[in-house]
Symmetry: C2
């Protein structure tokens, strides 16, 4: 049996001494290099307001199971996921908050690793974790740890992206191979191993987006294809803009190991989440420059044009298959990949 | 057995069709009067940046059990709690986000009630819920619903509050009777009923704070005494400022029903959380004006001076008891009142 100090106890969420110590010794220490530790302990962080006319604000809850998977854990996933939601609106991520719901008995060492990964991911994404909260629920009322992160970013003047802004003739690009994160988590969960282990692609897309915005083209919209995968992201763009999208199966990058795992597990790679990829719709004029800028960035080396926006319509997404046919790309019903992020 | 559509299913968190419908039909509809519904469905909300030099940013996770209690539910509690954390820094709350972790099988009708209460609490607090996320975990891996809210506010020029800003000679005031929320939740949980049911005091303190800031005194710091109650809030202020605080037991307002419930349950009312009260440290000069302004506000009618900041020191909090003695006010260890908010 573990010693008391080795696991999270109900008292760590109770508002008393144990909680103050946990916040000071773990959270404030881990995030201190990025933030004035003092701020973390007030009721709200007080921060310099960016000199811009528009803020971006987003939130996500992370319940991934298992919490540790090839290529990452729930901590860096939470930071990168929130950073990416800001980046998809063209915003420069500035500040993050994190709220923990921890199950009683969770190993303190695992919590430390998760918080350490969050701090490292924040450092890489150049954001500051400035506010937090810790709640503890009894055994059997949670599952290890859930993390809700929120983020505030600054939208540069002149940048205006929206899922409803696609225009007929736009070019659809992805920044790299799809499905890595979902396969990494599902294969770990299923206890499967493949000849080449697939790692999660969890990463901050903020730097890549910044490069794309500077490349001079016209980006209409971006999405990071998380839950529901590339298929859901394409559907969202097509529906919100009232256009059709046509993609080429052969042009969509999928790692061979991901494709084999999907065959084995019965998934369509287009339904499998990524956590470090983006799909964008680009005005054809200037699209080559944006694509070149993507390929010059480490996270966009395998960027590819995968299709085109067709005419106005009801949000149909179709795919020309490798055997020359055309099929509808369906929106996943949602049950297939529970707790993937 | 309930029909499928009456409960939350795993698919509602899966990123596919069921989730899109839930977000559109429930969340976007409930929060639409307060926000451009379209914004809610982008990856991040894009918002007008306040014309101020400082933002306030905070987050909280809510795991209260039971989710419905006399005077409120987890929904209005989550909105008010986050609004109050912003208000305690003197900020005007502007935008909220909410992330849900829902247990599979949770009644859709209960979810609707909770979201409705959130929308109503947001309306009262004059904030907009602009971003959200929904995750679903399998039965036995959660407990109904957990909600993490984050908030962004605008700190008016010239306002600077901090738990480290107390000065010897300051006056300590509370805005009303303490312990109502904790007793309301604990008595419901324990299946107790008292001759007069105690209701949670959950409320937005933003209006009261705004009134106090306009009253012309000098507010050093404010706290809403949630987890750990008034005792924890006083400890935080005393420790962070390196001063002692002395309070008068007879001056601390506690409703008779709350006092009786605390006697019965074995709690010290000073350890029992409030969710619509504040404690403040005021420079003596101008304190009468601030107190008068508080009493003129519906949420501060019973505001009272409860003590004073003593000399510099190690953060001791002492209380003159009703029988004329002096005792240390201890910081609760944290186990006593689990899942109270």
């Amino acid at each position: 049996m573990r010693a008391d100090s080795d696991t999270v106890r109900m008292a760590h969420g109770g508002g008393g001494l144990a909680m103050r110590e946990l916040v000071r010794d773990l959270f404030a220490t881990a995030f201190a290099p990025l933030a004035d530790a003092h701020l973390v302990l007030e009721d709200a962080a007080v921060l310099p307001c960016p000199r811009t006319s528009r803020l971006a604000f987003t939130t996500d809850a992370f319940v991934v199971e298992p919490a540790f998977f090839p290529g990452g854990n729930i901590g860096d996933l939470a930071v990168n996921g929130t950073v990416n939601d800001l980046a998809m609106m063209g915003a420069k991520p500035l500040f993050l908050s994190s709220a923990f719901v921890i199950e009683e008995g969770f190993a303190m060492e695992d919590l430390r690793r998760i918080v350490g990964s969050m701090a490292e991911a924040a450092r890489r994404a150049e954001v500051r974790v400035v506010a937090g909260d810790t709640k503890v629920v009894p055994r059997g009322r949670g599952d290890g740890v859930y993390i809700a992160t929120s983020g505030v970013g600054e939208v540069p003047e002149g940048v205006s992206l929206s899922a409803s802004a696609l225009e007929p003739g736009d070019r659809i690009v992805v920044s790299g191979p799809v499905g890595d994160h979902g396969v990494a988590v599902m294969s770990r969960r299923a206890g499967l191993s493949f000849e080449a282990e697939v790692e999660s692609d969890t990463a901050s897309l903020a730097g890549l987006v910044s490069t794309m915005l500077e490349a001079g083209g016209r980006i209409r919209a971006m999405r990071d294809p998380t839950r529901g995968g590339l298929a859901a992201a394409l559907h969202e763009l097509a529906e919100d803009s009232g256009v059709s999208i046509e993609v080429e199966e052969a042009a969509i990058p999928v790692r061979p190991a991901v494709r084999r795992a999907c065959d084995l597990l019965g998934f369509d790679p287009l339904h499998v989440p990524c956590e470090g990829r983006l799909v964008a719709s680009l005005a054809e004029d200037g699209a080559d420059e944006v694509l070149a800028a993507m390929r010059a960035h480490p996270l966009g080396r395998d960027a590819a044009t995968i299709g085109r926006v067709g005419g106005r319509g009801k949000g149909r997404v179709t795919m020309r298959t490798t055997v020359g046919g055309t099929r509808l790309v369906d929106l996943p019903a949602g049950e297939l990949l529970p707790r993937i992020c």
